[in-house]
């Protein structure tokens, strides 16, 4: 009996493995993808990259312009994240189990959070392109909506994880709703709230770069223009600048995070 069970399990594993291999093979056949050809192209791609994809002197002269574009993108991300965080905080507090205003507010804010969160930033950008055209506003609103959805959910969970005992104590002293939120809920989960906001900001700087290609703004667009104009030296400089900026911001937010956790 026991032997049968193990054999069956092994057969199941083998069957699934075969199925996966079949699907892969079928997909490759349909799309005429040749794995061997793909792998053998890597050395050539590498040598091309080394020959062309580095900033030369002419590209370095474009640095001030590129930095301007980078600043645009970073500010766009920061502006959308902070505004989204404020709106998300209101919805999260009112919709959380601990501080729930009423059943409807809870349901509505949870529903809104999941709709805004589950539509991808790129999808938002495409939808908003119709209304705002190729402008920074499109990118701003796309980031704002997606971050609002994500942050509402994250904040709500942070608030519900917090123990509600101090809320009960403040209620017993006769404190009002807004007072309890400001003096008890926010101080209790401030580290989590700030941590989520910083995380969102980092993510948004990366996303803003890609959104910029769609909306024709910021550093993403600069990359697009140089790359399509076959100015690979300048395009490589853009990539280096983006990478440096992201690492710098990550380091900065780590410092802030540890300061808040200690303080």
């Amino acid at each position: 009996m026991r032997y049968d069970f193990l054999t069956r399990k092994r057969l199941m594993t083998l069957g699934s493995l075969l199925a996966i291999m079949l699907i892969t093979w079928g997909a490759a056949l349909l799309t005429r993808f040749d794995a061997g050809q793909g792998l053998s192209a890597i050395p050539a791609a590498l040598s091309w990259g080394i020959e062309n994809f580095y900033p030369d002197e002419k590209a370095w002269r474009r640095l001030p312009g590129i930095m301007d574009k980078l600043l645009d993108t970073v500010l766009l991300a920061v502006a959308s994240t902070t505004v989204a965080a404020m709106a998300a905080l209101v919805c999260a507090v009112g919709g959380s189990r601990t501080m729930r205003l009423n059943r409807w507010f809870g349901l509505i804010s949870r529903g809104m959070a999941s709709i805004f969160r589950n539509i991808d930033i790129a999808a938002w950008a495409i939808i908003l392109l119709f209304s705002f055209g190729q402008s920074a506003l499109t990118g701003y609103f796309a980031l704002l909506f997606a971050s609002f959805g994500f942050l509402t959910r994250a904040f709500m969970e942070a608030i519900d994880e917090m123990s509600s005992s101090a809320v009960e104590a403040l209620r017993a002293t006769g404190a009002g709703y807004i007072t309890i939120v400001c003096r008890c809920v926010i101080p209790s989960c401030a580290p989590q709230l700030v941590s989520w906001m910083l995380f969102m900001m980092e993510t948004n700087i990366r996303s803003a770069t890609l959104i910029g290609i769609l909306t024709g703004t910021g550093i993403g667009f600069a990359f697009d223009v140089y790359y399509k104009g076959m100015n690979y030296h300048a395009a490589s400089l853009v990539v280096i600048v983006i990478a440096a900026a992201i690492l710098l911001i990550e380091a900065g937010s780590n410092v802030i995070r540890s300061m808040i956790l200690r303080g």
Binding site: S165, A166, E168, A169, L170, R171, A172, T173, G174, A175, G176, I178, T179, I180, V181, C182, R183, C184, P187, S188, A190, P191
Partner: protein, 263 residues
């Protein structure tokens, strides 16, 4: 005889279907009286205390506190009534990330309007009072310490200070010493006793320790299955009465009572 401060008439409460948590509770508490409420776990002691300040809404019955019918109050009036009722909890219910002083000042939030409450604007007088209270409870070295760095006994003293700064007429203590070691328990009970005799504040304490109740109380109320089964001076609490309050659990209880029983 001091005037009656708190009067419960026929108070009942049930959660969902099932047996009621409280049924037909009648209690009258005089100004400055120290009353212990004893009874097995789940007898409805915590529910009883929370019905008084309407942290839990009682289903039926009347609660008169300080000439006011608690059941008929609007939200604003209820907040005002709550400022006159201090509450102390088993798990202290402090905001752990804030300092002892800030937690004590939370006791004043019931008196504030939305703006002053949300921003935490306290007068010089209030801050001085908070500091004095902490000193009088022997916490002068911990005034600016964060509450998560304090021991259980110290946290409970912060909780007492938070209740006292409300300038209450009534103190509700929900198992204030259930999480404390014997030494700290004695300190806390001594403080509560002196609050009632020195400041003339009525104190209602839920207790698990019969010997403590016998030692400190003016009156003991025994609760079992949501009903008052004993109400009288500690000297009247006989073995039979304890049996009656605790039912089948009384066997183990006698160990705790030791030589100090009141027969």
């Amino acid at each position: 005889m001091k005037p009656v401060l708190l009067e419960l008439t026929n108070v009942s409460k049930s959660y969902g279907r099932g047996a009621p948590a409280l049924s037909g509770i009648n209690i009258a508490a005089r100004q400055g009286e120290f009353i212990s409420i004893i009874g097995p776990s789940g007898a409805g002691k915590s529910t009883l205390l929370r019905c008084i300040n309407r942290i839990i809404e009682s289903a039926q019955g009347q609660i008169r506190f300080d000439q006011v019918m608690m059941g008929s109050l609007s939200r604003r009036e209820l907040r005002k009534a709550r400022t006159k009722i201090g509450m102390i909890f088993q798990h202290y219910n402090l905001v752990d990330r804030l300092s002892a002083l800030e937690n004590v000042l939370h006791g004043r939030l019931g008196y504030k309007n939305v703006l002053a409450g949300a921003l935490g604007l306290y007068s010089q007088e209030e801050k001085r009072k908070a500091y004095e209270l902490l000193c009088s409870l022997g916490l002068q070295e911990h005034v600016h310490k964060r509450c998560d760095q304090l021991s259980g006994g110290q946290k409970q003293r912060v909780g007492i200070a938070r209740a006292l700064i409300q300038e209450p007429k009534l103190l509700l203590c929900d198992e204030p010493i259930a999480s404390l070691d014997p030494g700290s328990s004695k300190v806390i009970m001594d403080h509560l006793r002196s609050i009632s005799s020195r400041l003339g504040i009525t104190v209602l304490v839920n207790l698990h320790q019969v010997d403590v109740a016998l030692k400190y109380s003016d009156r003991i109320i025994g609760v079992n299955r949501g009903q008052i089964v004993f109400n009288g001076a500690p000297s009247l609490l006989t073995h039979d009465a304890i049996h009656h309050i605790y039912g089948s659990e009384a066997g183990e209880l006698m160990m705790e009572l030791g030589g100090k029983n009141a027969v």
